[in-house]
Amino acid sequence: MNNTSTFQLDGTDVPFESGQTVMQAALAAGHYIPHLCYHPEFKPHGSCKLCTVKVGGRTAASCTMPAEAGLEIESDIEELNALRRTLVQMLFAEGNHFCPSCEKSGNCMLQALGYDLEVHTAGFRHMYPDRPLDASHPDILLDFNRCILCELCVRASSEVDGKNVFALAGRGITKHLIVNARSGLLNDTNIALTDKAMEVCPVGVILKKRVGFKQPIGERRYDKRPISAQALDDAPRAPSGAKHE
């Protein structure tokens, strides 16, 4: 028997099944809560904090918080959106995000969140880090300039592909994505175009070569509809790429 009860999100009743997080239940009911490191096919990571909501005056990450009957949750309020805007701005200032020349533009979650939150500028001093590309692989390009350290590629490669191609190294501001090969180069790993790790990056780091701009700018996912209108696409679903069962 489905054990369905409800909590309140911004004054609306949201049904949930036991075991669901606030994020999962909200998305499944078509209510969008901003997120970057959450992915419907993976265990929550709880690192980006874009999904922060207020419950009884306290803040919590909705992607890790179990849904409970009767909770009164606030999400789409100016206090939280202002904090989310600052998080997005810091991500823009910390990497090198030149959207006009990025193949992910229009399909990028970070950019789409910037649009949705009316972020007009990063505001902070841009750090312009020096992060050389890895173009060693014949079919795949890595542009580390845009990495937001969500670890989705790390999780996909180890949990679904069973390969461990990616990892995060370093701490604090020096934390960065690395490739698990003695040379550090992608060409010396067994990554394949069909890997789950190829499709999960929310931004423009892991790119297929020779398909750039095939889909015209202006006709891409978030050009058509704002990210906040696409909650159902991120509703919980079973992992699709599990090949190692």
């Binding site: 823009f92 090198n96 030149f98 959207c99 020349s101 009316e118 505001g123 841009h126």
Partner: protein, 181 residues
């Protein structure tokens, strides 16, 4: 009947490509009602060389050389409201993609070692403004009041932003008009 005083507007392109100015002209016939509300001071449209007291300054392009800094400061001194328009003014944009390279190496590569260059030399005419070692967005040099993102922002986005502002509202772009690419 006394005419309402027109707002004075100045525009310039620093380390930009004039694409934002071209996009501004894409407001097309709406230029005519706009000209009932504003008049232009320093701008490529008027060829006035220095900015006088203005209500609104629109700046395209980031800061890549000494002259850009002087022009930006002239605008900040004279404009009540300063608006950064386009990716380069807001993020440094394409010119800022040299920021992780050494400026000397860039000049050497472009003018001396690039294949096909005979007797190349690094331009050193005293009239030329000196490049800065890094390209900066405008807000790192002076206070900027508003930002219109896009490469370039569409004529419709510029129109919406300016008409909101002139009407005394907080400018908002909304889906379809806010774009970073």
């Amino acid at each position: 009947m006394s005419e309402k005083k027109k707002l004075r507007v100045a525009t310039t392109s620093l380390a930009g490509c004039f694409g934002c100015h071209m996009s501004f002209l894409d407001i097309d016939e709406r230029l005519i009602p706009l000209l009932e509300l504003v008049e232009f001071d320093r701008s490529p449209l008027t060829d006035i060389k220095h900015c006088g007291p203005c209500d609104i300054g629109l700046i395209e392009g980031g800061i890549c050389n000494g002259e850009n800094v002087h022009v930006l400061r002239e605008f900040r001194k004279n404009c009540k409201i300063l608006i950064a328009i386009g990716s380069c003014a807001i993020t440094g944009g394409l010119p800022a993609q040299r920021n992780h390279l050494d400026l000397g190496d860039c000049l050497t590569e472009v003018y001396l070692t690039e294949a096909g260059l005979a007797h190349g030399h690094i331009p050193n005419d005293p009239e030329l403004p000196l490049p800065l070692d890094k390209v900066h967005p405008l807000h790192e040099v002076v206070k900027i009041d508003y930002f219109i993102p896009g490469c370039p922002p569409s004529g419709d986005a510029i129109w919406k932003f300016l008409t909101d502002l002139i009407a005394g509202k907080t400018p908002e772009l909304g889906h379809g008009l806010i774009e970073y690419d």
